[in-house]
Symmetry: C2
Subunit: 386 residues, 2 copies
Amino acid sequence: MELTQALQQIQPSYIREILSDAQAEGVISLAGGLPDGNTFPIALMEQSLKSLPERPALFQYGHTAGFAPLLDYFREQYQLLENHQALVCTGSQQGLDLIARAFVNPGDKVVMEAPSYLGALQVFGLAQANVISVSQQADGPNLEELEACFANQAPKLFYAVPDFHNPTGVSWSLAVRHKVAQLCQQYGVTLVEDVPYRELRFKGEMLPLVSSFCPDQALVLRSYSKIAAPGMRMGVVTGKDEWIAPLIKVKQCADLHSSVPMQAVLLDLLRHPHFDQHIATLRSIYQERYQCLAEQLRAKLPQGCAFNEVEGGMFIWVTVPECDDFALAKAALKNKVAVVPSTVFYQQGEKITPALRLNFTNATVEELAEAVDRLVTVIKAECGVK
Amino acid sequence: MELTQALQQIQPSYIREILSDAQAEGVISLAGGLPDGNTFPIALMEQSLKSLPERPALFQYGHTAGFAPLLDYFREQYQLLENHQALVCTGSQQGLDLIARAFVNPGDKVVMEAPSYLGALQVFGLAQANVISVSQQADGPNLEELEACFANQAPKLFYAVPDFHNPTGVSWSLAVRHKVAQLCQQYGVTLVEDVPYRELRFKGEMLPLVSSFCPDQALVLRSYSKIAAPGMRMGVVTGKDEWIAPLIKVKQCADLHSSVPMQAVLLDLLRHPHFDQHIATLRSIYQERYQCLAEQLRAKLPQGCAFNEVEGGMFIWVTVPECDDFALAKAALKNKVAVVPSTVFYQQGEKITPALRLNFTNATVEELAEAVDRLVTVIKAECGVK
């Protein structure tokens, strides 16, 4: 049976491929985007999980938009405007997919920073969007490029990860946030603000959401995979009613609604008096690992390599000398350290910066140090640098 | 922001509309497709639910295809062929949506019996399929029409609900099952066999799956919403590897994977030594309600109305004299009984049989008797019959 034209153009995910090899005996994996399973707030969810058998109503069909008490919590917690609402999703990945299905016709223009989150590239690829890249700088997207793109190409959406970008770890400055919000309003481009790593800030001050400066021109995707647990598949999309309503219509086709027991457990967790403490602990664990990885890289990276300091999130982006980044990642895997080559974060045919994405949340400090040693050996050999 | 062309043509679900009115004080609802919440096997899931805090690995990211032990169970339980596999879905609704997204280009031909499951009409509508209807008879689709359609129109898929069809309750005979399988093979049409009600047989013998006669020409959708609990959102699609692989690719975009804790609880339930007894109890409760509703209808339906006896499932289909079935359903709601008018189960512009779908699984026998009295009053008044 022939695949749809849309699906024919989707490449298999290299990350998925490498991830299975990355699980081989003795390999230290910095390739995935996994939170540390030991940090999951299981203790804070225990009572809620154990109470599920006493709450049989949670097992009946639910509303497509979500479990009402959870929606109420979101309204209050995120201070949603009167004309805004929330839609619970099966992970924020689903929220992004619903947005593409509701608003992106084949050929519609969608802007992203390059490099980009792979899951977004896949979603917009499946929607057959015309994806336009703008380059990313240390404090966010190149604003001149962005404005020229908005002015000349009239894109429909701008997909962005302003807090601790995946894969680069870049966090937008306050000035960039203001300017992007203004440009979205001026040119009528909808901002899709994806903030899965927002709470994972271990340095500096939390900056306002970009969408807080243009609430009626934005859809916001929040994930509970990093601060609660990814296996539950919980996310939420918020925005004005007239934009959420079509997403609900698509979600009705997609899965009717998300698991109600999981929604109830998430709500109990978010309301738990120790949840803030859990986040604080998570930040400090990840900070320690980041500092270890950064120190190791500073001390050991060979000539022609560089990385940007980050203030949170899960990733460090190491640029390497001109080389075949795929071959480099494969050689690293042979030397028992798994990383992701930059090519997978770009559209096919796009000019790439040779680089490697290193995750620091799912390995111990001892493993991170050993991983850098293994990686440096390979970079020196493959790139011919000292 | 303008909606996609695909979404613009999707009608809002009348069922969703009527369901909110159906929850008003004093209304007896036979409108939904809800299982009885009191029958949920919560007791059989209790130990599993309570053990979740001791199984933290279930809260990490999982494989897109599903929780490995559950996939193993499916392979054995459903005796999957060597070249076949299973994909766990966020409800079987998602399985159907994935099939449409992987295989149906806009304009591709999809065959369905008329009337049809509303959720399938919506999914194929969103895929912009060219939906072709064949009429349904007491023992399944009209085979002459079906063969002519396969021969002349070369459709890609035939979507079917051979066990206790929604909305009509029709179950295909063994002869029809053989013939449809043969036609699918002969004309190279893929059968999508959706069997959410299959286990809810309270009379007669379980017949083989249609797909058992053409396994390599079929995809099978199973749901755990009727025999476990719908709030968990658990379903599975099975078929040959080369057709499941693209579904996995789409699911990766759609929600990465389904809730792992829910998959683990489902597996424990399916393996529970008393699960078969649970199904037997469910059947006998639903049988009693069906018999009550059928007796009431036999005794009280006015001239020009008829209904077909069913051997399982959740619905009775009552045909009524020529009338505006929407107006009839609205009048019924005013008289405090909610039912679904037949129009919603047909494509727009299609010739409909005026009828009402009555659910018998979510009301007590006392409520069912009272509901029939209220409904009969309205039919007599609206259709001018005695």
